[in-house]
Point group: C2
Chain length 132, copies 2
């Protein structure tokens, strides 16, 4: 039943790179990682579950912030070493900084320049410290 | 002049993950990797230059196929461990399989199912063997 998980060539850490895109706006929201269990749970729950490399545990996106990602589609690339999620981003905010997307800085004249607004103060998103 | 390159926390292999998105259709085309030199060349040439982990060398996307990616925008994520390129995909084909995007397979009922058409036979794209 989980042959599809066997087709992923998990890297030496047992992970695969995951790009998450907003299904409506098509904006690329985040790049994160999943292990086998995270990808299985994501498919079952239809909500994004990543593997946090810093916390070294499964991380149900939105568990602290409420900014859950409802999964509309799961795709895999030609050599199966990257996964693409198309999601509905609850709250319209994917980044722990309060931006819609984690990719809010653009290279301009040799500098990374912040382009997009903070939609909500992170202090109001998280009760305690950083989290996503 | 290249301080912006110093802000990327290159991983233990000296690489950073790169998501490439079509600037017009917003379709996610590929996930690949860059080292410092690749990112610098990408910014200078305004064409995508990746680092091929299999060939262990810089890889000017389209060098064999002609399917060059003209770079319109370079973004970086909140913790700077992923880069987003917005590109104009020459030939409308990013994948070595002849598909527009490398993400042509979708999870459906526990199977990865090919969704998108092959736009051009890879044998007609490459004179000799696989290349991108």
């Amino acid at each position: 039943m989980s042959d599809w998980l066997d087709e992923v060539p998990w890297n030496e850490q047992g992970l695969v790179a995951v790009v998450t895109q907003d299904a409506s706006s098509s904006r690329v929201l985040t790049v994160a990682w999943m292990n086998r269990e995270a990808l299985q749970q994501t498919a079952e729950k239809k909500e994004a579950v990543y593997y946090s490399r810093s916390k070294k545990r499964l991380w149900h996106k939105g568990e602290e912030s409420g900014h859950i990602q409802k999964v509309r589609e799961i795709r895999i690339d030609c050599d199966a070493d990257a996964v693409l999620l198309k999601v509905e981003q609850v709250g319209g905010i994917a980044c722990h900084t309060g931006h819609e997307s984690c990719f809010f800085r653009k290279l301009e004249n040799g500098k990374w320049v912040e382009m997009d607004p903070v939609l909500k103060d992170p202090k109001l998103i998280y009760k305690k410290g950083k989290g996503t």
